[in-house]
Amino acid sequence: MTPLAIGALLAAAAMVWVIAPIFTEMPDEHAGGPAPSQAAEEAAEAAIREWREPKE
């Protein structure tokens, strides 16, 4: 294997390692504010239930 081929292989391997964190980025679930509290989640679920099953 020529030195240039070894260099190219090393460069490719290094590039993969370097850019890996960008592709393993987890989507930000709580973008735009803090995580909702338990009470807020329960209130939201109640509102959705109410909307789906309107009182007669």
Binding site: L10, A20, P21
Partner: protein, 443 residues
């Protein structure tokens, strides 16, 4: 390996540029993955700069005279030890080594910042700026003074290493100076990172100060080693005074000293009197003692130095009186000539007596180094004979020898050892004074 070395230099530059771009973007967008990618770029740049340096070292050790830089600074008859030292004997090699050291220091500082700095944006800016500084050094190495530039045709032999640089201290003086310069990249990056928005807090200021102190200490040792080397190698002083590394190192040392003094004065005016003051007082005592010793010894050494230019035939005796009134005689043991591969050595040994009491032999040499084809490219290199005591240095330099006679300069240099002691005390006092106590780190 040489080809791989040059390729690695360019890949390292790309990685450093990647680091600078991604980490700064990560800081502005507050996205850690971008910063992580940038930091990995810096670590990869370190690996490739090390590979480039290994390529150049291999070219020197393997006598690859297809490279201009190797052909200019080495030859077949240079010892292996000095072939390695020839790596940093010229501007191109110095820049490559500086890039490597910036990569080492930068990677360490980036790792530390990402783990310790609570402000993520500031840590990201620090990483990006370190990448930018490394990229700048690599651009200078690659485009301005590339050590991998080939010659039009491969030479059989090189020009050889400048004899003035063939000294064991070459192994440490230049790398230490460059390490001190590279070390200052960390505080510069950390300061600029704080100025780019996030600002300073006590912990960050303490980190900057610790890195400044580290760089200052390395530069202090490098400058002391350089001065000592210039003392024992006549002719080297002019070479060192023209060296960009030494000039940059000296200027940086002055700037760092002023920074540390200002930081210390501000700290002293703000904090209440504590046990820290006791340490400061001790440091001040060491500083004042070292400074006084240095001043007195320097002036005394200059005023009391006695020089004698002597022509002594084989077996003849020469008399002289030192600065303290002692009578000395020097009996020539004759000149001896030694022809070695690559250099001829002419040595003259003298048997001294002081007030009639016999003293150990003292020898001075003149070395003529040969380049390719036996050409004497460089002027003869003089190796002085030095016998140092606390009272004085006896310094013998061989100027010429032939026809059974030797021309020598015999010098009595009083209190020179105290000049060195004063310099070391000054450096230690500075270190003690500027040393940040643990409380300040914890703050």
């Amino acid at each position: 390996m040489t080809q791989l070395g040059e390729l690695s230099l360019w890949i390292a530059l790309l990685m450093a540029a990647w680091c600078a771009t991604l980490a700064v973007q990560g800081a502005y967008m507050r996205r850690d993955p971008l910063t992580s990618s940038g930091a990995r770029g810096l670590f990869a740049a370190l690996g490739f700069t090390a590979l480039a340096s290994a390529g150049l070292a291999t070219a020197f050790l393997g006598d690859d005279y297809s490279l201009r830089y190797v052909a200019q600074h080495s030859s077949l008859n240079v010892e292996t030890f000095y072939k390695l030292c020839a790596f940093w004997s010229g501007g191109a090699g110095e820049l490559l080594l500086l890039s490597l050291l910036i990569a080492v220091v930068g990677s360490g500082a980036a790792f530390h910042s990402l783990r310790r700095d609570t402000d993520r944006a500031r840590a990201a800016f620090t990483v990006g700026l370190l990448g930018f500084i490394l990229a700048f050094a690599l651009v200078a190495t690659g485009f301005a003074l590339n050590p991998f530039t080939p010659l039009a045709r491969t030479l059989q032999d090189g020009r050889g290493l400048d004899p003035l640089l063939r000294h064991p201290l070459m192994l440490v003086q230049r790398p230490l100076t460059l390490l001190g310069i590279a070390g200052s990249a960390a505080p510069v990056a950390m300061t600029l990172a704080a100025l780019m928005g996030p600002g300073f807090d006590r912990a960050h200021v303490a980190r900057i100060r610790a890195s400044v102190l580290l760089s200052w200490s390395v530069l202090s040792v490098a400058l002391l080693v350089g001065v000592r080397w210039a003392y024992v190698s006549p002719g080297l002083r002019a070479l060192l005074e023209r060296s960009p590394a030494v000039l940059t190192g000296s200027a940086l040392w002055t700037i760092l000293t002023v920074y540390l003094i200002i930081a210390e004065l501000r700290e002293a005016s703000r904090s209440p009197r504590t046990h820290v003051d006791v340490m400061r007082r001790r440091a001040a005592l060491v500083l004042v003692g070292g400074g006084a010793l240095l001043c007195i010894a320097t002036f005394a050494a200059r005023a009391l130095t006695k020089n004698y230019d002597a022509q002594i035939g084989d077996g003849e005796k020469y008399s002289a009186k030192d600065s303290w009134g002692h009578e000395w005689t020097f009996t020539s043991q004759g000149a001896s000539r030694l022809e070695r591969e690559g250099d001829d050595v002419i040595a003259v040994a003298l048997m001294p007596t002081r007030d009639g009491a016999r003293q150990p032999f003292i020898t001075s040499e003149s070395r003529q180094y040969y380049g390719p084809g036996g050409l004497d490219i460089y002027p003869p290199q003089t190796v002085p004979g030095i016998r140092g005591t606390i009272a004085q240095d006896l310094f013998v330099v061989l100027a010429d020898a032939g026809d059974g006679r030797a021309v020598l300069r015999i010098s009595f240099r009083p209190l020179v050892e105290l000049v060195w002691a004063g310099s070391v005390l000054l450096a230690l006092g500075g270190l003690l004074l500027f040393w940040p106590p643990r409380e300040r780190f914890a703050a």
